[in-house]
């Protein structure tokens, strides 16, 4: 008997009360929110923020972004990993609640996992009009040396690596990394066949 993969389908425009209910104000608890690390989690506190653009350069107002990351010491909260109980490392944010259609995550900067990779965040992108989700990664602009030695970045054509690097900004409210996602066009974000 053959077990073949169940096909992917788009998340559609109406995912919010199922997947991100608290963020959108529905009376249903979320299992994951834009707050990945609260004050109790140790590490360098950062905010990741960005927008998702379609091929016409218009911001997408019905995308959902998920992130998965290690804690500040490079530990994933996963079975077999040296987990950090206070930190699940998983976040979800839709682009439909901010007037500028930004997504954001309040988290800690991930540490290097220790296998030669630079610190990074795994990103999964869902939206109406995307029949199969897209995988990308966030690297950090202030980790130039580690980025230069990262095997995944090295596998990306040099002229496109920049699409994976979040730009560090220091504002009144703390450290912000800006990471826009371009679905198409000259600056199309690198998406991986994960």
């Amino acid at each position: 008997m053959a077990f073949r993969q169940t096909p992917s389908q788009t998340v559609g425009p109406y995912f919010a009360y199922g997947l991100t209910p608290q963020q959108y104000g529905y009376d249903f608890a979320s299992i994951a929110t834009p707050v990945v690390a609260d004050e109790t989690v140790s590490g360098q506190r950062i905010r990741i923020v960005g927008r998702v653009f379609d091929g016409a350069g218009a911001p997408v107002n019905d995308a959902m972004i998920e992130i998965w990351q290690a804690d500040g010491q490079g530990r994933y909260a996963a079975p077999g990993g040296a987990s950090n109980a206070a930190f699940r490392g998983f976040g979800r944010c839709g682009t439909g609640t901010d007037p500028q259609n930004r997504y954001f995550f309040d988290t800690v900067k991930p540490g290097a996992v220790g296998d030669g990779q630079a610190p990074h965040v795994a990103v999964t992108v869902f939206m109406r009009g995307l029949l199969t989700h897209a995988y990308t990664r966030i690297y950090f602009s202030d980790e130039a040396e580690a980025n230069a030695g990262d095997p995944v970045l090295a596998s990306v054509p040099a002229e496109r690596r920049d699409t994976l690097i979040a730009k560090r900004e220091e504002g009144d409210s703390g450290i912000v990394y800006r990471f826009d996602i371009h679905m198409q066009g000259e600056r199309e974000t690198v998406f991986f066949d994960v």
Partner: protein, 231 residues
């Protein structure tokens, strides 16, 4: 352990022009292959303790002053990998329109009634055999703006985590015999040989006497790469 690749003969392409929104939203450049690292071999874990008491019963979790209207259904199935092994203790999230084809979502402008006693969102976790189960109301068809007289077939949206971020799946479950399936570009965007996997089966054995019609929807996630792929 690494995960088997996405089987692109099973999944829809990023750009499928009959579904108009894909034209400006689907990536156009080839995906860059990524050899799995710890980041792709791990993922978030949500067990039974993540669930609220009524999360698996959409006929009750949105009640305000009575029962939701519509045909009660019970939906169950097994989540397995490509070798048929159960995917245990994994989160299954569902959301859907009400019996009239209306979503609670604020931007759904379809002129059909909201049901004050139906939210349409729920979740459950698979057991040791990979089985999940939830109660709901059969969702109605609804119109959308893709083309003239476009209607989505009855469907329930599913989101699964699986053991790692590589096994992540968002899909839709359809109902057997729906005449709208032949006309729906989202369903038709799926490669033809794989489409039947998206259609649930009616089951009199799952059906609960005098209570709810039973549908079975089995789900196959990517498996361990050591497993030879069956064709």
């Amino acid at each position: 352990m690494s995960t088997s690749p996405r089987d692109w003969s099973s999944h829809p392409p990023y750009v499928y022009p009959d579904y108009k929104s894909t034209v400006l939203r689907g990536p156009t450049r080839p995906l860059i292959p990524l050899k799995h690292t710890l980041s792709e071999r791990t993922g978030p874990v949500y067990g039974h303790d993540s669930l609220g008491a009524l999360d698996n019963d959409l006929t009750r979790n949105g009640r305000r002053n009575g029962e939701p209207l519509g045909e009660r259904i019970v939906v169950t199935g097994r989540v397995t990998d490509e070798a048929g092994r159960p995917v245990r203790n994994t989160l299954v999230e569902v959301w859907q329109a009400n019996a009239a084809g209306r979503y609670v979502h604020k931007v759904d402008q379809h002129d059909a009634p909201l049901d004050p006693n139906f939210l349409g969102g729920g979740r459950c976790v698979t057991d040791d055999e990979g089985r999940y189960r939830f109660y709901s109301i059969k969702p109605g068809a609804y119109p959308w703006g893709n083309h003239h007289n476009a209607w989505r077939p009855n469907h329930i949206h599913f989101s699964l985590l699986g053991p790692s971020i590589a096994t992540r799946l968002v899909t839709q479950m359809y109902f057997p015999g729906d005449p709208l399936l032949d006309l729906d570009p989202i369903f038709q965007g799926t490669p033809e040989a794989a489409r039947s996997r998206l259609i649930s089966k009616f089951s009199i054995d799952v059906t609960e006497p005098s209570f709810a019609l039973g549908y079975v929807f089995d789900i196959v996630l990517r498996g361990a790469s050591a497993t030879p792929m069956e064709v």
